[in-house]
Assembly symmetry: C2
Homo-oligomer: 331 residues x 2
Amino acid sequence: MRRNPLIGSWAVIAPERANRPADRRVSTQRSSPAACPFCPGNEASTGQEIARLPDPNGLHAWGLRVFPNRYPAFRIEETPRSRAAGPYDMQAAVGAHEVFVETPLHDHPATATRMVELRNVFRAWRERVRDLQRDDRIAHCVVFKNEGVLAGATLEHPHSQLIALPVVPTSLVTECTNAREHYACHGRCLVCDMVDWERSQRERVVLESADAVAFMPWASRVAFETWIVPTRHASHFERDADAKLAAVADMTLRVLVRLEASIPQLAYNLLVATAPMRDAERADYHWHIRILPSVSRQAGFEWASGCHINTTAPEAAAAWLRDLDVAEPLP
Amino acid sequence: MRRNPLIGSWAVIAPERANRPADRRVSTQRSSPAACPFCPGNEASTGQEIARLPDPNGLHAWGLRVFPNRYPAFRIEETPRSRAAGPYDMQAAVGAHEVFVETPLHDHPATATRMVELRNVFRAWRERVRDLQRDDRIAHCVVFKNEGVLAGATLEHPHSQLIALPVVPTSLVTECTNAREHYACHGRCLVCDMVDWERSQRERVVLESADAVAFMPWASRVAFETWIVPTRHASHFERDADAKLAAVADMTLRVLVRLEASIPQLAYNLLVATAPMRDAERADYHWHIRILPSVSRQAGFEWASGCHINTTAPEAAAAWLRDLDVAEPLP
């Protein structure tokens, strides 16, 4: 990991990842399940299994598998090292890079997914973060999902990833600073304030339940950006109990069903926003899920300014999803 | 412009930009010059011309044209307004959004470009920034170029853009903070330190001249990321004289020729990194050009962490470009 002190963010230099099976730029063809390393029958072609969960549909030998990424950006075998390199900083990329195959089914859209399946995925994420937390060289775990070639997925079989890092990533440090300043100024959690305001305004709320709310933030960076937030304040995803994870998982699936029905060939990035793993419970940070559909590329203006140009107002996008007539997912 | 206080960056909500001619996701086909609004003969289909330069080759009525973007993200006609929106901030998108058609030729790769042509582009950028500076509602101008569909270009005729903003963009605020801290600590400009270190290490330097150096930063975020830096310290691009701009323009073109020869169907973002327009000359900020080839998409990990995974070591990329046997551009 190398840090540019002017920009303030880390780059992971990982030439071995250039050998991944699919070049994300090249192919939009569907691959065949027989050749898919994530399909049942090809288990031997993945890394050593870390965990598995049974198939809730009782049809396959497993319902979810976790194993190390074959082309890891971070490795548990590295020795922690930090040094200067001229004006730059260097850190050994100590950590972990794990893959969660979320279903035995190669083609498995959100519309065909049961709530219990995504609940299992959320629980599997949580258990892996809890396990990795025992390694004190790891400062934070980033959980994310790339769905579709446009979102940067190299394999189409539904899967998510966890990257454990030796540092708290730059953007989370910035968010914590902003959240802390808001709390110091107002005595309230910033995300709680955002939820309160979006619920009072209503026009950007997509779905609500007793325990979770899905809304498109007033300052959405991309079209159909959606945040799914537990209504009761809690700073750490991995410390929450089954029931609360389930409420957020269910609402996430209901949002994904609506996005799939709205955007042809939906591609998206999903991420878990959560407080730095080693922090004590924080009154100023509030975990949630963010879904960012891949509708436009980062171009020169975004690189130069950190600003985003979003051609779809969140009010219009939220109204669209709210008014959709879709079948709710099965339990 | 709406600001998410947790993330700290601005989103421009611009639904009218959804009407642009090409959907950047859809088409990789070449368009025909007859249908291109930037080609000679179609001048009436662009906005009112702001500036033009003669064709250095003497073949066409003009060599470069500047006019307002037809689908502007910022407008000079807006009235400055700033207000709170719940926990968020709002600013009217006062500013300007201009297009620079860099050549009358629809197909005009870097390998066919003369140095005088890119020098003219740099000068045109500078003159537009100087002119817009007279409007005191504008806080900063971002100059950038998207080349190729993968880089977010909606039209293929070579062009660059200028966006004038009512705020200093978030990422530049961060860079200035980092640069100021480095200067406070060491009494030296951070970019000068980076240049000194890269020149002493040599392995990431692509090209050098008396007045400019091109190198791949030690912490390159994407494969073949290249910075072109004037060797003499200066904080503002738009305050530099012709000779210094020309030295950086010439080296930029020499780098682009090498990138074109190395990467099939090269797409890239280019941007001018320069100190906030209203600041007095700064000892801690040093203007330069950044080229970011479009080789991978921003995916979930990048959204979640602000970190980048780069599968090509800058040492390998710089050696590749250095060792290329290519014809140098004509004067």
